[in-house]
């Protein structure tokens, strides 16, 4: 069973194709990076996985459950590029709401929130409203929400965006820790040096087509950095 399985997915906006027959498998327990230049179709693909959009053709399954069923999202943690929620919520209130929506309650919810606040070093912000926080602190709150709930697949859309160097380091540690716990992580990012360090697999998407899928190890063994490999693939196609 794959964590995410995308078969023959097509999506167009009017006459413009955003994705052409995309096939992709994200294996359980692995970290996969989806790389691509701006406008490649990365965000569209993430939206399709989360059923925020509907594909014109093809099937997407999450742990063998079609993505159009709400149960497919029962073990998913998601954070968009810019985490945003209603400004009157406190940091703790956000985590309580997210935890409840993911099926947690009582002591489990409380202990997971305490743990998430502590992991992200935002315990002292827990009673502050989002409107009083900096962008980085709001993004950390979003990251903390990934630690609340029984997830086995995490989908991160440009997770390093808006984080300071300490936040980036914390995020990398979280990703590594989640992987050590056997969780699957699917993320897209432009920061290739970071991806090279933390990912097992990569998929390169350009103009709506998957140009490459394989392991980071195989790329590095070929004597190229991920950045050089990516540049070569994308510029060849262009």
């Amino acid at each position: 069973m794959n964590a995410i399985e995308i078969c023959g997915v097509r999506k167009s906006y009017g006459t413009d194709f955003s994705l052409h027959d995309v096939n992709l498998e994200v294996k359980m327990g692995r970290i996969m990076a989806l790389l691509g230049p701006n406008g490649a179709g990365k965000t569209t693909l993430v939206k399709l996985i989360l059923n925020l959009m509907h594909a014109d053709h093809g099937v997407i399954k999450i742990k063998d459950i079609p993505s159009n069923l709400s149960s497919s999202r029962s073990g998913i943690g998601f954070i968009p590029e810019k985490f945003n929620f209603f400004p009157y919520y406190t940091v703790r209130g956000v985590l309580e709401f997210f935890g409840t929506m993911k099926g947690l309650g009582g002591n489990d919810l409380k202990s997971q929130i305490d743990n998430a606040l502590s992991e992200l070093n935002i315990t002292e912000l827990q009673n502050r409203k989002l409107q009083s926080l900096s962008k980085g602190q709001v993004q950390r709150t979003g990251l903390a929400s990934l630690l609340v709930g029984e997830h086995d697949v995490l989908i991160l859309d440009e997770p390093f965006s808006g984080l300071d160097p300490i936040g980036m380091r914390d995020l990398k540690n979280i990703i590594k820790k989640q992987k050590a716990e056997g969780k699957t992580i699917f993320l897209n990012s432009h920061i290739l040096s970071e991806m090279e360090q933390i990912c097992d697999d990569v998929a390169i998407l350009n103009n709506g087509e998957i140009l490459f899928t394989g392991t980071v190890k195989s790329i590095l063994e070929g004597g190229q950095s991920l950045e050089d490999f990516f540049y070569q693939k994308v510029s060849n196609k262009a």
């Binding site: 925020l52 709400s70 149960s71 497919s72 998601f78 929620f85 209603f86 997210f98 409840t100």
Partner: protein, 273 residues
């Protein structure tokens, strides 16, 4: 219903109420309504004291009925405003992505937003009624509460729910102002077509067809005649004879509403965010 499912419903409804309670419009409406009720109370007292012995019999119950008609009309606008904003604010800054990434269906999302808004608007409605009832009882030294008000309130509860639902439906396809204009026009068109078509016999429906008559007929036959509830509530309040065919009107309202609920559900399910 599993515990998780119940907790999600509760959290979503609470979230909707919390969101709307922050609205400046609600604060303004709340203050304006309270002031208006106190003003009506003062005017009523003034009228009674300046017409001692000469004025027709004014009781708490009949003065409250007049006030109640005003509150009913005002509640439609409020239901429309909050029905529309219940989902439009989720589109702002793409917050809706967070909601739809939770393991809940879009149908659950839609109904929790509608129910949360209904609870808030209906609470406002009940507040207006009870404040008026207390003040009018004091002003007239008579008991303002009446069984007819209770029946009318229940009918208006259903009406407010339908208005919120229609507003929600329009807000899926139009912006804030567009959805509000669509709502007001729909309510007006439904009301006009009902009053013109109801007086006709079935055999007259297809006679002398004009463009306006065709539109009126289509609206009358296929759209939920929500105005039926306000008319019935008004009949009950004024203790007038009810001339409406309650069985037929209720059946029509039930069937057309069920169809539009199905349509809204399909629209929400198919929408790309």
């Amino acid at each position: 219903m599993t515990t998780m499912y119940k907790a999600q419903w509760k959290a979503m409804i609470r979230d909707t109420i919390l969101k709307e309670l922050r609205s400046k419009t609600l604060v303004f409406i709340f203050i304006a309504t309270t002031l208006m009720i106190f003003l009506c109370h003062a005017l009523l007292k003034l009228f009674i004291s300046s017409n001692q012995g000469t004025a027709p019999m004014i009781t708490g119950a009949n003065s409250l009925s007049i006030m109640f008609t005003m509150i009913n009309a005002w509640s439609v606008i409020i239901a429309g405003i909050f029905g529309i904003s219940s989902i439009r604010s989720d589109f702002k800054d793409k917050i809706i992505y967070q909601y739809l990434s939770f393991p809940i269906s879009r149908t659950q999302y839609m109904f929790s937003r509608i129910l949360g808004t209904w609870i808030l608007v209906y609470s406002y409605y009940l507040y207006s009624y009870f404040l008026s009832a207390i003040l009018f009882s004091v002003a007239t030294h008579s008991w303002a509460f009446h069984t007819a008000h209770l029946i009318s309130m229940l009918l208006m509860g259903l009406y407010v729910f339908l208005i919120i639902f229609i507003s929600f439906l329009y807000s899926m396809v139009a912006g804030k102002i567009g959805a509000f204009l669509l709502l007001i026009s729909s309510v007006a068109v439904i009301s006009i077509s009902s009053s013109s078509m109801r007086v006709l016999a079935y055999s007259e429906y297809l006679k002398d067809l004009t463009l306006f008559k065709v539109i009126g007929l289509l609206v009358y036959l296929f759209l939920p005649r929500v105005n039926y509830l306000t008319e019935l509530a008004s009949n009950v309040l004024s203790k007038e004879e009810i001339t409406l065919n309650i069985g037929l009107e209720s059946l029509h309202l039930f069937v057309t509403t069920a169809f539009f609920l199905f349509l809204a559900d399909q629209l929400v399910k198919r929408k790309n965010f």
